[in-house]
Subunit: 188 residues, 2 copies
């Protein structure tokens, strides 16, 4: 997706340790027009897949996920990182974050993920794939099926993309970064 790649080159910041900062247009301040283009691209890439629900994890996944859900005409469900006191039938999974060097739980209410429901997982970044694996675990617990995963940015120099594709999951990433070496953004 060229508009996205150009924007990453223009406004993305490459920090030490393979961190790509896109908080001026993707995951803190959000360019709503670009996000709509991103959502349309996801909808196009999964147009041949039957999807009952779009799922994501708070907070950065919510904006792209709700727009994709709106385009597909299906509900969206986001996993929470804190267990709300009023949640029923909680399903939980532990996710290890390499960026933050700590584990956190993600949870959903089992009421909203049904057996055999076909889900599209949407998120901002794919790096080591731990968040995606956590979501896959939640879906498995619920008996639901993840029929696709869409990421705005994939870091191909980390292992998540290979790991998910090796499991046979249909993964689509809109901008694939081959390297951030010497703080230079290089696309695949």
């Amino acid at each position: 997706m060229n508009t996205l790649k150009e924007r990453i080159l223009q406004d993305g910041c490459c920090l030490e340790g393979g961190v790509l900062k896109v908080d001026s247009f993707i995951n803190h301040q959000i360019d709503a027009s670009l996000m709509m283009e991103i959502a349309k691209e996801f909808a196009k890439r999964f147009e041949d897949t039957k999807i009952d629900k779009v799922i994501t994890i708070e907070a950065s996944g919510i904006a792209p996920a709700i727009m994709v859900a709106s385009l597909l005409g299906v509900p969206m469900l986001f996993a929470k990182k804190k267990v709300p006191s009023t949640m029923n039938g909680i399903l939980k999974s532990e996710v290890f974050s390499f960026t933050k060097s700590r584990s956190y739980n993600i949870c959903i209410s089992g009421e909203f993920l049904k057996k055999d429901e076909k889900c599209l997982f949407i998120d901002d970044f794919l790096a080591n794939g731990n968040a995606a694996l956590g979501m896959l675990d939640l879906a498995t617990q619920a008996g639901a099926e993840i029929v696709g995963m869409g990421f705005i940015i994939e870091k191909a120099f980390q292992s998540g993309g290979k790991l998910l594709r090796d499991k046979g999951i249909h993964v689509e990433s809109l901008a694939i970064i081959e390297s951030l070496e010497n703080c230079k953004i290089k696309f695949k």
Copy 2:
């Protein structure tokens, strides 16, 4: 907004202590079509107001806020509840949550809220107004102006609505709940 009120009566759950649970369609699982209708209604109610940016707080505010921003053709900025290690020029404010009986910080990067920028704050609930006041504090620190606040659901039996309107803020709430006494939802 009648569609919303009917949906609250149909799928909302009233719990002890004045809690209204709408997690099947508003703030956990989200009905994307309804959320788009909600966003259109906000856009309509603020059509005579000049708006440079839509602002909200993670996580429940993000879905309505990004849709409103998309309709208005402006960027969206969401305040975070944890300070990211890579954030520049952090502005912080403390918010007390009555529901959770504890305080938390909200923060934004000062880069993304500029002097004299006209902001519309969007959130799912207005109860005691503490989150809204926190956001007002952040905007004040940045020298930005909050020109309106839109809430999906306002609990008129709590003090937030009066407090914000008494400050001269243009507040729009799409469903105003007068009482949840005896676990019965009564609209104003």
